[in-house]
Structure formats: structure tokens, C-alpha cells
Amino acid sequence: MKDRFDTITIDFESLFESAPNMYIAVSPDLKIIGASDAYLDATGSKRHKILGSDLFEICTYLNTCTPDETSEMELPDAFQYVLKRKESMTLDVQKLLLPAGRDKTTERYWNMHLIPVLFEKQQILCVILRVEDVTEMELVRIEAKVQTARNTELEAAEKIHLRNLKESEARFIKVFNLSPAPLFMTKVADGKLVLVNSAFEKFTGINSAATNGKTLMELGILDAPNIADLNKQLAGDHSNDIEFCVTTKSGSTRKMLATSEIVEVDNMLCHLVAMLDITVRKNHENDLMQSNHFLDTILEHLPGMVFVKDAETLNYIRINKAGELLTGISQKDIAGKNNADIYPAEHAEEITRGERELIERRLPSAAVEELIKTGGSDKWLHTRRIPVYEDGKPVYLVGISEDVTEQKKQQEAILQLNKELEAFSYSVSHDLRAPLRAVTGYAQMLDEDYAHVLDSEGKRLLHTISDNAEKMGALIDNLLTFSRLGRKELTKRETDMNGLVTRALAEISKSTEHVATIKVNELHQVMSDPDLMTQVLINLIENAIKYTSRKPNPEIEISSYVDGSEVVYCVSDNGAGFDMKYYDKLFGVFQRLHAVDEYAGTGVGLAIVQRIIARHGGRVWAKGKVNEGATFCFALPISNTK
């Protein structure tokens, strides 16, 4: 038995040393008496160096043991406990720093089991320390713990996030509902409505409850072509300028402008679409386009040239068709052309200067006459220029030109004609008068020197010759006056018509005696040539005197009144009057409605009146009735500018 035990003892030692686990055996006074290879390997120790040494002295790393929070005891105390109580003891998860090469340590976690080996159940032979390396497990456990802690943190963060999300969603809903623009959200997948705001309800007339899960088409808001159009635009790149038409519950079709954004709601992709009713704007745009088109059409077909220039460079921007014809420059070539391209060199600079001044003074120009270069012959234009401003800054200079070449030619012809007429008048005045002077003069000589040899009939014949010669002289005078009036320059100024009437009456009284009562009312002032206007008054008043001369109580009244933009002056009498059926002969030259022996006259007086008034831009007319008097009126424009 003893032998067997010895054998067993030997076996035990080698067994101990080669055991795969870490063991170390110490005597009751804590001297190392044995260690397994595994232990030596793990701690980097040599058996012969540690055998017989004090455990805590040689294995210094054991002093670094820090017990796990669950352990009740430290390692030295545990040994004392085991030695004293002769019971096993386990220290779980002791962290310690094992030497690992020079000056280095490695952190390990050990479960340590202290097992007393008793001799005959009485005396402690030794204490075996069995070490279980739980580092890997422990690290995993620590990691798990850290992870758990982190997870807790994450959970807390998630909670906050969720709360924020809820708040933000509440805010979004609030904004969504408050928005004055109709908003809706449809699922990208099937186009079904998820959410609409109150503006949408109001706009479409459909309650939000009724919209849920329906498509816009099902609700009758969009028809098939429009939904297709909308979907195409939603899918496109330009999700900011989507235009489509919707039908409201009242049945009206509105044009909408929308912006859209893809959002995720409850794991669904949705289009969030904000709409703006642009029907009015669109209609305005259409109106504007139509009116632009309308104006363009007018502009293009105006017979006169219309041009637009840049206010800064004064370069041409566009011209109309008439301008094209006039300048010989096509509409597409006109851009960038300047005055030097259009006008003769000697005028271009002056015209440019004038245009600049115009823009600076912010005034439209009066119509100016200018010569233009054309492909063929030179043309004369009447051009009016109007500067156009935007926000107070000059932008364009617009011009309207009328081709007055023909008028200009005619004007020159008229001037030539006038010259000829003047020469003619001169010749009339000189050459017709000379024989007339001879007739009167010699008749007078006959009368003076030979009256004694003429009987009464001879004298009557002689006087008839003289009278007619004098009448012819008067006719020539009147005719010359009449033709002169057509050429005389008007010098208009504010005219005191009462003053002119006084002057006319004084003039008349020099040559004519009369008994007529002439009532002159307060007369309006007007712009006129006072000399010519006096002539008008003389002629009209003289006429009135003449044709009332056979009445027992001749009365003449001169009055005036304002009628719209005219002042009307009237000379009325209670004289012989006239038959309205001959009215068209009243103002003709040499036209008379009375026989000469009834009322003398040459028939030029009223023609002169008409001509003078016409030259003032006015008009004349008359009313009359045989034997019941006549009223002659003339009207002059109030704003009779110079």
C-alpha cells in the first residue's frame, strides 16, 4: 500500500507539473513548493527560481491583485482564511498585472481557487492555488457592460430625439396648416393623398377627412392629362416651377404654380407640394402678351417709322417695317446702328446732341424736320422723340417719324406759287391801276374843263364812267387784300376784343355815317393777330351797318361766349338778312346775295373774314332770314398757341 502511495506520489508530482491548468502549491508558511508548467508559462517564471520562495515575495504580481467588486477578500487574507478554516476558498475575477517582457505588464483576469490539502483531515499539508484565466471572458463581459452602458445612453438620446421629432412634427403640422398656400402630400408610390392643409381644403372645397387615401384625380381636382403632366413634372429635375391646372369644387379651373420636395413620412416617400394660385397673374401675363402682340401689330403696320433706341448708347434697338423701307436697313440689321448710319454726316452729330439733351431734360421733343439718308433719294422726316424712363432712369428713346418728303415738295411748290402770285399781285396793282387812273383822271378833266359843253345826259354818262372806274379800283384793292391775307405772317398775342371793337368802330366811322345802335357786350379775350382780327370786326360790323341801313331802328349786337375749347364771337343785326338757301355763296370771293344798287359791295368782305379766321385755326358761320336780320359768328380755339 505504501509503495503504491509512493508511486502515486511521484505520479502526482509529475501530473501536477504537467497539468494543463495553472496550479501553484504553497506550504502553510506560504513557501512555494510546486507549480504547474501552465502556471510558469502564463507568468513567465522558472520553476527553480520560485521553488522554496515566499509566494508573495517572489510572485510580486500577486500584490497587484485587485479583487472584483464581488469578491469579499484579498488574496493574502484568503490564504489566512484557508489555513485557519481548512476550507476551500474561491476568489473570482482578480485583476492583476503580469510581467510581459522587460518593464512591461499585461492585464489579466484570474479566478483563483485556494484548496487546502489536508493530512489525515487534520493538518494542512499545503494549499493549492488553482488559477483559471478568465481574461477573455472578462474582457467580453466588460465590453458587454460598456456596450450596455452605451446602449442606455443611446436609448436616452433616442428618447430625446423622438421627443424632438414629435415636437418638430407638431411644429411642421402647425406651419403646414397655417400656410396660406394650399399644401398637400401624396405618396410617391401610388399618388394617394396623405395630408392636406386647411388652405388646401378651402381652395379645393374638399374636407381633409375626405382626401385621405384618395388621389387628386379621384377627388376630381386634377383630370387625367393634368395628373400625368404633374407626375411628369414631379419626377423631373425642376421641382420648383411646376405648372398645372386644377379644378376646384365650384368647378372653376385655376392655374397653379407649385414647388415640391420629397419627404419621408412613416417610412413612405411622399411628395410635399406647395401650390400658388397664379390664375390672375397668368391671365395678366396672357393679357399682357396679347396686348403686346396687339401693339406690336399696330407698330409694325404704322405707315410712319417707329424706332427704339438705347437711352445710353443711342444705338438703335428696333424699327418697324416702315422704318425698314425708309432707312433701307433691315429690322435684323438695325441693332447697334447709330445716327451716323441713318442721317447725313453733317446732321448726325447735331441730332445726337439733341437726343442727349432731350433725355436729360426729360421732355418729349416737338416734331423736328430732318433729312434722312436712304438707299435711293433723300427723304424729309418729321420726327418726334420721346424718352422712356423706368424707375426714374432713362432706358429708351422712342421716335416716331413721318415721311413728309411729298409735303415738303408741295410746300416748296406752294412757296414758288406764292412768289408768282405776289409778282402777279404787284403787276395787278401797278398795271391795272394805271389805265384806271387815266379813266378817272381824264373823266375828271373832262368834267372840270368841259362841263359847260355837256348837257345833263352827257354829264350822267361821264359820272357813270368815273363811278365804275372807282369801283374797279376798290375791287382791285379788295382782291389784293384778300390775296395778301393768305401770305401774311400771323403775329398772335392775347387780344382784348373789346379794344379791337372800339378800334374797328373808330375806323368805320371815318368812312361811313350810320345811325345804328351798336351794343357791345363784355367780350372774352383770345390769342389772335390783332390787326387781322380788327379787319374781321370791321368787315362784319360794316356789313351789319350796311344791311340794316334801310331799317327804321337799326340794331347791332356784338357778344361772345365760351363753347368747349373755343370762344365764339357773334355780330347780329336786325337788317335785311339773307336766304339760308344761298348760304354756300355767303363766304365766296366776289359772291353777293344782293344787287349792287340795293347794297353796294365787292363781295370780298366775308371771304376775307373767313380766310383770316381759318388762318387762326377757327371757323365762321352765319344764320339769317330774309328781312329778319342775320348773325355772323366766328369761333377761335382757346389754346391758340403761337
Binding site: S425, Y426, A434, R437, A438, T440, L480
Partner: protein, 148 residues
């Protein structure tokens, strides 16, 4: 009496007008000697003592010239211009005769130094007025009594 030679020089191409003028002036004894010349060329010869009148003395100036404007050869304006341009003759008063108040030549005459004009026919009244315009009362006053 250095001026006794010629009182009034009448330059008038129309014989009827000339006759009427001479008759009117003589009838009132306004001029005892009137020289009547038929056109402007003759008038210049007379005034400047050239041509047919080369033996005349230029200092023997007429008291006044009644000058018709519209004449053949040399017209009244040219005569006027020559007379007014010459120092020796500049002081002779000239009354222009015209057919019409509207004659544009009358204005030219004023510009050239004429102070008065008469619209024909020349009669006593308008002649007197023209002379009054010139301020030459003596033309009437001095001579008229002598010949009455």
C-alpha cells in the same frame, strides 16, 4: 434865285399819269416849272448832267424829285440809289410815286432814305401831305405867292 431854273423834277413814264400830275400841281399853282422826264435813264442824265444834259450845271438842283418806281430801262429804285449815294445830290428831297399802298418797294425806298411817298394819282391833297412829311413847307410857301 439860283433855284429858279427847276422847281420840281417829275420822273414818270406813263404820259397819262404825268399829265394828271402836272395838271393837278399847276392848277393849284404849286409849281411854276416842272421838268418831266420819261424814264430813269433820262433822269440820271439830267441829275448828273450827262448825255443829252451834259451842258447842265449839276449845282442847279431841283427843289424836289417826284419819282415813279416802275419804269423801263432804269427803274425808280436805281435812280434813288444813285442820287442818295452821291454827295452832290444826296440832299435833294425825293417823293416816291407808287400805284399801291401795298407796294413792297416803298419799304425799300424808306430804307434808302426816302421820307415820303404818294399813292397815285398825284393830287393836291396827297402832294401837300407828302411835302409836309418831308418838312419842306418852304417848297410851297416860298414859291406859291410869287406865281399867284
Amino acid at each position: 434865285m439860283e433855284n429858279s431854273g427847276v422847281e420840281i423834277l417829275l420822273v414818270e413814264d406813263n404820259p397819262n399819269d404825268a399829265e394828271l400830275t402836272i395838271r393837278a400841281l399847276k392848277k393849284k399853282n404849286l409849281a411854276n416849272k416842272i421838268v418831266h422826264l420819261k424814264d430813269g435813264a433820262e433822269a440820271l442824265d439830267y441829275i448828273f448832267c450827262t448825255g443829252n444834259y451834259s451842258d447842265r450845271d449839276i449845282n442847279n438842283k431841283p427843289r424836289a424829285i417826284l419819282l415813279d418806281l416802275k419804269m423801263p430801262k432804269v427803274n425808280g429804285l436805281e435812280v434813288l440809289e444813285r442820287v442818295k449815294a452821291d454827295k452832290r445830290t444826296r440832299s435833294i428831297p425825293i417823293i416816291v410815286l407808287t400805284s399801291s399802298n401795298e407796294d413792297p418797294d416803298v419799304k425799300k425806298c424808306y430804307d434808302m432814305g426816302v421820307n415820303s411817298y404818294i399813292v397815285k394819282p398825284v393830287g393836291f391833297d396827297n402832294f401837300t401831305k407828302a411835302v409836309a412829311d418831308l418838312g419842306f413847307y418852304w417848297l410851297l410857301l416860298n414859291e406859291a405867292p410869287n406865281n399867284r
